[in-house]
Symmetry: C2
């Protein structure tokens, strides 16, 4: 899954997108936040907060849990990463301009995560919910299984 030809390019694009969006929004992608985003993007797999912390410590030994969680919070808030609830893990967002209607395919073998967006699925969920007068706010859809390459 996600056999990207050139992962450095993926990462750089993600970083560039984040920069642009921050600029547009008037928020700051500080050095720390950028570093954390880069670390999240070290692969197309998911990363765990305390693994990020270990990675950060290699750069700045004084890093502590809040260092990581604050950056993660910022990155989540602005849609540069997503949290995978079923794994307590984080993954970079490949299309941070439109982070609606997303769901995640999680390969149990290679740990890679593919983010998909489907207005279709989103509409069905929304319609079904509204039929019973439930007003949906946030949809968490995570599908674990085995990806093409691993099966």
């Amino acid at each position: 899954m996600n056999p990207c030809k050139n992962h450095k390019a993926c990462t750089n694009e993600a970083l560039k997108n984040a920069e642009e969006i921050c600029k547009k929004k008037g928020v700051k992608l500080t050095k720390l936040r950028e570093t954390v985003l880069r670390l999240v993007w070290k692969s197309h797999g998911y990363v765990k907060a305390y693994d990020l912390l270990e990675d950060l410590k290699k750069i700045d030994n004084s890093a502590k849990p809040p260092t990581v969680y604050r950056s993660l919070d910022f990155l989540l808030e602005h849609g540069f990463i997503h949290k995978i609830q079923s794994l307590n893990a984080y993954v970079g967002c490949g299309h941070p301009n439109t982070h609606d209607n997303c769901y995640f395919l999680i390969c149990n073998e290679c740990q890679n995560i593919e983010e998909h967006c489907s207005k279709n699925i989103n509409d069905i969920v929304t319609n079904t919910s509204e039929k019973i007068n439930f007003l949906p706010n946030k949809i968490t859809l995570e599908i674990s299984g085995t990806c093409k390459e691993c099966s």
Copy 2:
């Protein structure tokens, strides 16, 4: 949401179902497991593991985290409860014989959870996944929002 007329009846039915299914499967719904299941069913809302632990301690002061988690594991394994991944919480399953294709509507106001099943949603997810040769194994679909009564 879930304005059940008689929650005692809900609970008793859940307990009865669990008993029957255990009998059929040849597994044991021990006193402890039954107690935990009853505690999970104290409402239609979700419960947190350490709240259950507090509840259990009122009955048996020697209860400890593994006491709760082991029972939860058993109840999860046999489909008597579900884990709500986005909340790290647990909720009773209202129809434990057929716990496929389920998703959860979580009201942010009243904390109640309604479990729904839709072969429709499940099929769409499955088809969409398979189109890209992803073999789905487990689908986590959790929708938080506001229920009819709370909106």
